[in-house]
Subunit: 144 residues, 2 copies
DNA sequence: TAGTTATATTTGTCATGTTAACTAATAAAA
DNA sequence: TTTTATTAGTTAACATGACAAATATAACTA
């Protein structure tokens, strides 16, 4: 016996995200790259925007400040990110990605693209556009 | 500057699941119910099927055996689940949900339904059906 | 039957997500 | 300017997820 919830959007969203993250992690690992998907997301933001504060990274990644602290600690230890003191506000850090950080970011990007291709199998571009549009609607319904 | 990945299916799936889980957790907490969404998922399975082993629960919930051990520990401590020794295989447990477990499960179900309604705002039934269908396709692409 | 292999669960370790409490620094108000 | 409130970041505690190793039992095979 199985619940009607098993085919609900909630269940499916959760399942999809779980499998997707598993796939991404394992792709990164199989290439012997020492970074997690979450750490990569941070590297990505810092690659796009230099001198973000931790708070700004938290906002961009929809994560908690406390998490960012810990993850930046790890990224700093690995030499992928540097904390610079902010001359205007001694409470905050300006973060920058290192050369090594950029290298790692660039190594992972094609793996992300591969996975995007993999999940799109048997799904037309039109369908995927519609899927993404509805994802955005759901996100907005949850953010409000 | 933002990456093309920000509107990719991967990013959106991840974001949707994150917000959805946050919403669910906070709904449960705001009703002062002492259970996590993941624990509720287990209660749900045991409510549908009695005498599942931990391995079976793990398979149904797509989780790790080790995680199930720990979550069942917590559910047992709270008196929501009982471990019965399996007469045919002394390695495994047969799990059953308690009366209190069923009560908790039943309290949370309407909250899950509320959230399903909330995320469906401005999305037609037809659109949502298509969304779910594509979710299933993506899941299959990831499971293969 | 003895020895090997497979299985179900447990335990430990590490990363992340959530929450609360805390520190230091800035901003606002009296 | 002194007090008060807010803000950025840190730390600690707990739950989950992934992974590896360990234990006990079951199943298989020579």
């Amino acid at each position: 016996m199985s619940s009607f919830l098993d085919q609900s959007a909630g269940y499916l969203i959760n399942m999809t995200a779980l499998l997707l993250k598993r796939e991404f992690s394992s792709a990164i690992k199989s290439h012997n790259i020492d970074v997690t998907p979450e750490q990569w997301a941070i590297l990505n933001r810092l690659n796009e925007n230099s001198d973000l504060t931790q708070k700004e990274v938290a906002k961009l990644t929809f994560k908690d400040n406390a998490n960012i602290t810990r993850m930046v600690d790890k990224l700093e230890k690995k030499g992928l990110v540097i904390r610079h003191s902010d001359p205007n506000d001694r409470r905050s850090w300006n973060l920058s990605i290192t050369k090594k950080g950029i290298e790692i970011r660039d190594l992972v990007e094609p793996l992300a693209v591969d996975i995007l291709n993999k999940i799109s199998k048997n799904i037309s571009k039109k369908e995927m556009d519609s899927y993404n549009k509805i994802s955005n609607k759901i996100i907005n319904n949850l953010i409000e």
